[in-house]
Amino acid sequence: MKDRKKRVEMFSFYDHTGIEAHLQRMAGRGWLLDKIGAFGWEYRRIEPKELTFCVCYFSKASGFDPEPSEDQETFYDLCRHTGWTLAASSAQMQIFYNEREDPVPIETDPVLEVEAIHRSAKKSFLSVLLLQLFVALMNAAILSSRLLADPVRTLADDSTLFLMVCWPALLTICAVELGSYHLWHRRAKRAAEHGQFLETSSRPWLQWGVLCTVTFAFALWTASVATSGRTVETAVIVLLLLGTAVIILVTDGIRRLLKRRKEPAKVSRLVTMLVCGALSILLTVGVVFGALRVLTGSQHSRPGSEDEAPLTVEDLLDEDVRDYGQIRSGSRSLLLDWSYVYQYPRRDVEGWDDRLGLEYTVTLVKAPFLYGLCREKALEERDELGDDRVPQGHKEFWGPADPGPWGAAEAYRLTAQDGGPLEIYLLCYEDRIVDIRFEWPPAPEQMAMVGEKLGG
């Protein structure tokens, strides 16, 4: 039978009444809180009994203190005198239990209690939440602008989709926590003026809900990346996960080591923050640069090699694919796949300037509700009729074309006001949209080949 267990508890920092009730229930089941760590709350087995818990806030304490200060010890002595034993503490939050029946509470003046909570909240909980809110807001704003500017490529990137779950989730938690605390503090101050204590409340359902959503999104992201054979991205995810775990462990280890060595709180805080900052920068820079190097190296390849495009010049012209270079990029998500291919004559091959290139993008719409948006954006991308920056008479615009030869549902051809029809086509198939540019006028059998290879 286990004598210790660890649990992840989702309580707001100031929710002392919620924590007290929970710890009382745990003691009734035979588990007494023993330690609050970076990865959860630790309980030890006891004889099930009714204990009274009291969570109070000692604003002078800090998570970096090498040991309780003399003031804190004096406070503990006073608590001990009235039967209160310290169960665990985390920075300013001090959790006591009392075995006596009907003990005198530690806080008997509501005004002083609200002030102590607010002083402690300002020192840790509120500043951390405000910082997180700022970071989440900045990232949510960046994502929103990306989504507005280029919704198709943004939604076709599963890493971005994952971040589109994470940042709003963090934003929601921070906003709800800050708002709830502000409301509670206002009401508690008013109640305290009338000698009343106001109970606190947490929203564990919200925190668990957000945690489950983010975990689910993370699992989908990892599965999507791992099953699509994107080894670089899979490696990035694994490295980021391992790196984050290492940073948390090392940072917490250093904080504990400095605490054991009884270094002053200021030194401890500075060293811990420096180490955490340096490791975070190292991890981010290392992973990003490593991934970029590998990805940049693999973007230019030769057709016919391991990175075969769905449609090549060889499929359409009597050309040797080895005489061509190729640029491929793309992204995929649960909603959309987007891929770009450009095949160009290699300049190191004789007669390169007589050869013709081919360029196309394919947007595979996995979520049917996005089809209309993708079609609209594809049409907007090259259409210059509504663009005031291009002078009248020099604009390019889409005109209807015969979809039959392409085997498509709809087809459009780009026309320049000053140059007539161009060899650029937009083809709408059942679940995909193809934008293709030829450097020659395509023959009907070449159009049919495009439909066969790219139309799905």
């Binding site: 002595d77 006073l78 608590c79 530690i106 806080e107 002083l112 102590a116």
Partner: protein, 106 residues
Amino acid sequence: MPRAKFQTLTEQMFYVLLCLREECCGMDILDRVPAMTGKRVSVGSGTLYDLLERFCQAGMIRETRVEGRKRSYVLTDQGREVLAKEYGRICAQAEDYRAAFREEER
């Protein structure tokens, strides 16, 4: 309306100061207040810790002795004055109460 600092005293503040008419430490106060009031009033240890710190900062009490972590305090003249003023206020309230009921009885 928020209470102006120490303009009027709460019951707990009043009894803590009353205990400190003679030198005593925090633990003595924790025991004396319930004894003095027939357990009608008790001061929590966190509340007492805060009050002692605030009274010291306001110059109403002063630290007299430090033995290890045990600190003893006593009222200052300013503290006595605040306590006397509070006593006067309570007496005035009691007198008003008595006068009101005397009039009703007539």
